[in-house]
Symmetry: C2
């Protein structure tokens, strides 16, 4: 059996049954093997950052890794930004990256590059397979690395001759490892603190903001009076009716200090002490008071459900119903506003939807007005590298096997980074509704320009790098150019009508909302 | 003076007066400095691979480096594929890459990543400035590295606090260094061989295929009977009337051996012995016979004009007029074909045009039929990483100060990698005519699938990764969505009409040619 078939067989045996791909010449034997060995769902992306972003979105919903198939060197490089985001989201992905044949590499043909060096910057695990007979074992280890709780980026580099070489041995899948056990001392300490004090914040992150953890966290909060908050960035947050309305630590230091500065003690559940996204002149990096005490209940690589369950049990915290979300909001009308859009979304969102949010500046208040919607999952840009909203939406729809409506709240500047995602949505006829917030500028950067003290008002040269309005982007044409039905809305009534229309369809739809 | 202003001043003093940019928060002081210190032309690209590809195209025409302004880590990563291409084209670029403030980096906020590790994979020179007072000196060295003949990628990483910190000292520009002198022994050896033998090929690459070198090469060939050929890939080739009709070493081994196998001796002028782009099972990597002897007249880092001039002088080769190109072709008609398109292009191309070619499979015969056109420059994809045709065209138009028509012969699959380039063409109103070859598939990969011996016909899963026809891309809408006028052609007559129309305009135009 050749290396490529060995690899496909091992991946399938290990439960990896979805491949997001943009192959090149050095991957052709792998492509052929996908034909010969049935069982792998293959999804093409027209640029690699779409491919890796789809794999991230897939993992967040499927909770198991997909593989990617990427071309050597620069092909991998094109997908690195969304691998960075996936790394920060702690998503599990198995990258299969072709490379020059081992005997051909010394000739340094044009596409030769430092694939290993590139892979190391975004991966927890990197290996170049040396021969076909190693590939089964290497693939098992790659999947195992990708599955390391909660998830990791594993990159397996596959020289062309290893792929076509004979002598492959299908690897024996290993049982996924368990996360390191929780620390009973940490549980005891947290329980003591919660019994003794009234100024305690429990800061939740990672799986700590999913539904099961929320129930235990709420029992603890009810029993002790502790305050619950979530990290600013949450790769996957369970929201809507039946879930907790958890505030997030705000983005700016002033707001963060106002929200959490009053808590002398913070219990970290898979969270880290909150810090600024970026530094600013004469502003401290930390988003807490310097005398705040942090207590780690569970690290990011431990299971927060286990930790919270143990803590609730130790505290003898009784069962507690999650508070009712209040009435479902009504659709708003008139000129688009963040609050109005959020209300409309809360009013119309179908049951069990998935929201992929990369609204950047516009989305600040989306949370407050969508809690009364039916239960849904909310996915954030986790690593700050813009351009993941559309591919994450696309991959999430694949993971949900088209059974759930995906709503992509998408800023225009970020959308331009990976707009090719729309084509894959059309090709796969995915139930994705994109709400494209067209404000014609890099709004966040206009804010940041002032915030860093660069000056009060950008001049001509600065504006030439911050506005997107000359010429205006026409997102209806861009979407239609890739086979996605689209329509423009200038009022919230129009937006609501288009949302209803799109939610009744089985395929993708883009609403260009002029904001 | 703060670091950012110091850096802008030093770049301007060093002759770097064009900045291709896609900044983020950590670059805002640099953006502000570009306002305060006049003289830098700033060009925004909506994704970083457009930015770096523009800088590559700019260098190839302007023959001096531009700077790029890129956001930390993943922002840089997005631009790496075209930096790979620029590295292979030996283009000079000064990348300015923001990064976390030095004091903020240890907190590992979401966007933190291994910017240095990424930069090292594609740069000849990498440095992180440690303080504002170093920045002037560091910038001088970066420009000097970028200008090292023929050109190099230099990456200067600029932590935010170094940018906003005070104490900057504007650097004193250095005189650009000369390339290492040519080797008189190599010239003597080549002369002897050319006098003694009749089976000698002179293989030209780099600046060896530009107009000045061509004149000396032609004198030598006329005087000695040596055959002249060019590398398969030429970042910049002077073509058309008054230039040599130089054949290129063909892409496949069989054709390459047929073309050059008969020459026992090959004199390399900035060229390397030709090898395959990719390895195939049971096919040697080299594109020459194993007993071929190579003689290095000039290395890629030496000046081929100097070497060829010395050789022509030593051979006492008389002046020789470049042969007439014959009659200018007539526009072709009917169903589009590569030959017909090339003829039409040769017939209609305006004087002194620049062709950015990323036609991949379709362009195999473009050369033969365009030699009778007026003098023009032809730019190839140099590193094999698809997605440079459109940004290179855009940057070349900026370098030519809109005074020359740029014609981008562009395959559809590759175009999808950096289609955002069209928006910059519209914003800057650049005279770029894109001829978008829409064949609805990754045609090169269908060929490679067979060539690697993966199988005779791709099956369903393989085709799901190789065809682009479901849904079809509508390039007229995509172009219009970014503000570029566009029209579809299904015959060569229509294509000719649209070419004429576009050549009379001052701004960009896209012709979607259904092939």
């Amino acid at each position: 059996m050749n290396g490529a078939k060995t690899l496909v067989s091992t991946l399938l045996a290990s439960g990896v049954d979805t491949c997001f791909a943009n192959p090149g010449t050095s991957e052709m034997h792998f492509v052929a093997a996908l034909d010969e060995i049935p069982g792998m769902k293959c999804v093409l992306g027209l640029q690699e950052n779409v491919v890796t972003g789809m794999a991230d979105g897939y993992f967040r919903i499927a909770r198991k890794p997909a593989c990617t198939l990427l071309h050597c060197g620069p092909g991998f490089a094109n997908g690195m930004a969304n691998l960075h985001n996936a790394r920060r989201a702690r998503s599990g992905i198995v990258n299969i990256v072709g490379d020059q044949a081992t005997f051909h590499r010394p000739f340094d043909p044009p596409l030769t590059s430092d694939t290993t060096g590139m892979a190391q910057t975004v991966s927890a695990w990197v290996r170049t397979s040396a021969r076909a007979s190693d590939l089964g074992r290497d693939a098992v280890e790659a999947v195992s690395a990708a599955r390391t709780f909660p998830g990791q980026i594993a990159t397996l580099i596959l020289p062309a001759d290893v792929s076509w070489g004979e002598g492959g041995v299908v690897g024996t899948p290993t049982v996924p490892g368990q996360p390191p056990p929780i620390d009973s001392g940490a549980v005891d300490g947290a329980a003591k603190m919660l019994r003794d004090r009234r100024d305690v914040l429990i800061l939740l992150a990672g799986h700590g903001v999913l539904a099961e953890a929320q129930h235990f966290a709420w029992r603890i909060a009810r029993a002790t009076g502790a305050k619950l908050m979530a990290d600013f960035v949450n790769p996957h947050l369970a929201r809507g009716r039946g879930r907790l309305q958890i505030e997030r630590v705000p983005y700016t230091r002033a707001e963060a200090i106002e929200a959490i500065g009053k808590f002398r003690h913070v219990i970290l559940v898979n969270a880290r002490p909150p810090v600024a996204f970026f530094a600013y002149p004469d502003v401290p990096s930390i988003h807490y008071e310097s005398d705040t005490q942090f207590h780690v209940l569970s690290r990011p690589d431990q299971d927060p459900v286990e930790a919270l369950r143990a803590l609730a049990t130790l505290l003898d915290a009784p069962d507690a119903e999650i508070p009712d979300a209040g009435p479902r909001p009504e659709p708003a009308s008139g000129v688009p506003s963040p609050e109005g859009l959020a209300q409309t979304l809360g009013a119309l969102m179908p049951e069990n939807a998935i929201v992929s949010e990369e609204s950047v500046t516009y989305g600040k208040h989306f949370y407050r007005f969508t809690h009364g919607a039916p239960a849904h999952d909310w996915l954030h840009l986790a690593g700050g590298a813009i351009g993941d909203g559309m591919p994450v939406a696309t991959g999430a729809a694949i993971a949900a096997r088209k059974q759930r409506r995906v709503i992509n709240l998408q800023a225009d500047g970020s959308a331009m980074y990976s707009l090719q995602s729309l084509w894959t949505q059309a090709r796969e006829q995915l139930p994705v509704t994109t709400i494209l917030l067209n404000n014609g500028r890099y709004d966040i950067l206009l804010g940041e320009y002032k915030k860093v003290g660069a000056g009060a008002t950008p001049g001509e040269n600065a504006m030439s790098m911050l506005d997107l309005g000359n010429p205006s982007l026409d997102w209806v044409r861009l979407a239609e150019g890739m086979g996605v039905e689209a329509c423009r809305a200038t009022t919230l009534e129009q937006c609501a009508d288009l949302m209803r229309r799109s939610f009744s369809k089985s395929g993708p739809f883009l609403i260009e909302l002029m904001v």
